[in-house]
Symmetry: C2
Subunit: 347 residues, 2 copies
DNA sequence: TTGAAAGCGCTAACAT
DNA sequence: ATGTTAGCGCTTTCAA
């Protein structure tokens, strides 16, 4: 018993199976891979041997000889944002349906770790790379990746590789327009901390255009380093101050739902009523936004469709079914009018 | 140009580097692995070649020859639960700090897919397996895994492998006792849908014991298949009915924060005031529970410490630094009294 | 229908 | 200080 345990410390190999079944490695290989034309009797003998040895094919060896893996690298900005977690979940399930596994790399920490993560993914010879909101420097990532790998940017964009996303610019414009239509004149944008990201810039751009068309003045808020502090037009103050000052915004368009919830929370703490005193629009439609206590007006992204398309696309590229120049897929967004937006308060 | 592109379709190998640098493969290998005793000049020549060829060591080949990987398999119940997403994030970062990558497998879908996922992880020769709330059948998973792999159950338990978790039983008991101390007599438990899981059973057990000691009668609620419908003591009704019936509970202990938020939402829709009419206690302390609009009384788990310990443990087992029987680490929980619990309403 | 043999890219003795 | 060699476990021609 003790002996057989020890003996099995090293997992059985195809060779062990072949010996036990008294066939050659090739025959075992044929059985494993379901190649037709194996004598049923032989097949049974091999399978018997596989069972008794608890043999598990070594994918590492297979990958080496086949010169390809069924691994997809996924780079996630921040898993603790439910939007990305949900996206990752969808991606995982579609990838699995195509026979791909996910190696992942969450990389909020710092830019070098991030690059190391990407490098590690590549050294593992992932068949493709999926970026879910990459925040780092686009150029250095591009260099680390090189040319020989299908890349898909999902709900983000770095200017190279395929892109699957909603039209962030149009979406932000629509969200802002909704506020303008409600009569608001002082509408602020609550920016994401990752201001380099293209998606973030596009959202901000859509916001700015809507304001400009209405003859209004943009005003950008963003978290400062320390909690509860925001930067607004170069000066720093508490979020409560920003929300209650004389020239306070009557409406805020937030870069994402998490930020919108932060605003809601600050408003509550400043005894501001939503939407009577302050309207808030978010972006993403995460699960929590739907409950009665939040009931956030937001731009919904079609998460499942985005994930499916991204996976189909990258799998297509890997298999050579998709070729040619970078594609750009823009899926429709939806403005969900819930209860955090209402008419502008009288001046 | 076109030619050089084509030429680089296949990534450079150690052999290419050796040829270009006019040394042997071993020397290149020594340079890559930072083996001391390489002539500085030679080293420079090799590094030059590596740069010009954009050479990236093939981890797959290395893994094959070294007979080990630096991959950790992580099985996640439900990534869309922020608790698991946050845990996964911590695990990823500690694993990366130890030089390990994560292959992941989210598997709510169905049990077979789940087993396939585990099998795939094993065939990829992950060095260890981390379970974050495994929901499937413990025995079949155990069989799929076999004996030759370090396993750590993190915030869950299947009765085999190391366990890193809080004392779910004691925690649930404490949470329930808090409600009892507030004078509540009809306290229900809102169960997780995954009732086989040991952690879930432990929580339910702690709840039951606290009630029993106080001479009160347990009552279990859980989601039915269709939304908004719950099972309570064999009968099925809407959640609103369950919360407003004559014999309604005045307090609910929920299996996790997500469920607690569901209760809050249902209470809002039934015009029940929290905590005046209904007290609610959760479990996990996810980020959203902290905002003013939720302000959920809950049992907090030390997420970062749990993740760190789990990773240290599994890395220790892999490296042989940790040996012997399965360990069971119980980390302290904290009852966070916030604003969803208050005195029982007068009868 | 089965087997023999070459080799995927790398590491790790062992020689030189 | 560097090179030679023998595999790691598998797939895949090609022969038998």
């Amino acid at each position: 018993m003790e002996r057989s345990r020890r003996a099995r410390q090293k997992p059985a190999t195809i060779h062990d199976v072949a010996r036990l079944a008294r066939v050659s490695k090739s025959t075992v290989s044929n059985v494993i891979r379901d190649v037709p034309g194996v004598n049923p009797e032989t097949r049974e003998r091999v399978q018997e041997a596989i069972r008794t040895l608890e043999y598990r094919p070594n994918v590492v060896a297979r990958q080496l000889v086949q010169q390809r893996t069924t691994l997809l690298g996924i780079v996630i900005g921040d898993l603790s944002n439910p939007f990305y977690a949900e996206m990752a979940k969808f991606v995982e399930s579609f990838a699995a349906a195509h026979g791909y596994q996910l190696m992942f790399c969450n990389t909020q920490v710092d830019e070098n770790t991030e690059l190391d993560g990407i490098r590690s993914l590549i050294e593992h010879r992932v068949a493709g790379l999926l970026f879910l909101a990459y925040a780092g420097d686009a150029e250095s990532a591009r260099q680390a990746v090189g040319e020989q790998l299908p890349i898909v940017f999902l709900t983000c964009d770095a200017g190279w590789g395929d892109v699957v996303a909603v039209d962030d610019f149009a979406a932000a414009r629509a969200g802002t327009q909704h506020l303008i239509d409600l009569g608001h004149r002082r509408i602020a944008y609550f920016a994401d901390t990752v201001h380099e990201a293209r998606a973030e810039r596009a959202r901000q751009g859509g916001y700015a255009l809507a304001l400009q068309e209405a003859g209004l003045t943009p005003s950008i808020l963003r978290w400062h380093d320390r909690p509860q502090l925001v930067e607004a037009g170069g000066s720093i103050c508490t979020i409560q101050t920003a929300l209650t000052a004389p020239e306070r915004p009557t409406a805020i368009f937030a870069a994402n739902d998490l930020h919108a919830v932060d605003i809601l929370d600050a408003a509550d703490q400043a005894s501001l009523r939503v939407p009577e005193d302050l309207s808030v629009v978010g972006f993403d439609d995460i699960a929590i936004s739907r409950i009665a206590r939040i009931n956030l007006t937001t731009i919904a992204q079609p998460k499942e469709a985005l994930a499916r398309l991204a996976v189909d696309l990258i799998v297509g590229r890997i298999g050579g079914k998709v070729q040619g120049a970078h594609q750009r897929h823009s899926l429709p967004f939806t403005l969900l009018q819930r209860r955090t937006t209402g008419p502008s308060p009288a001046p």
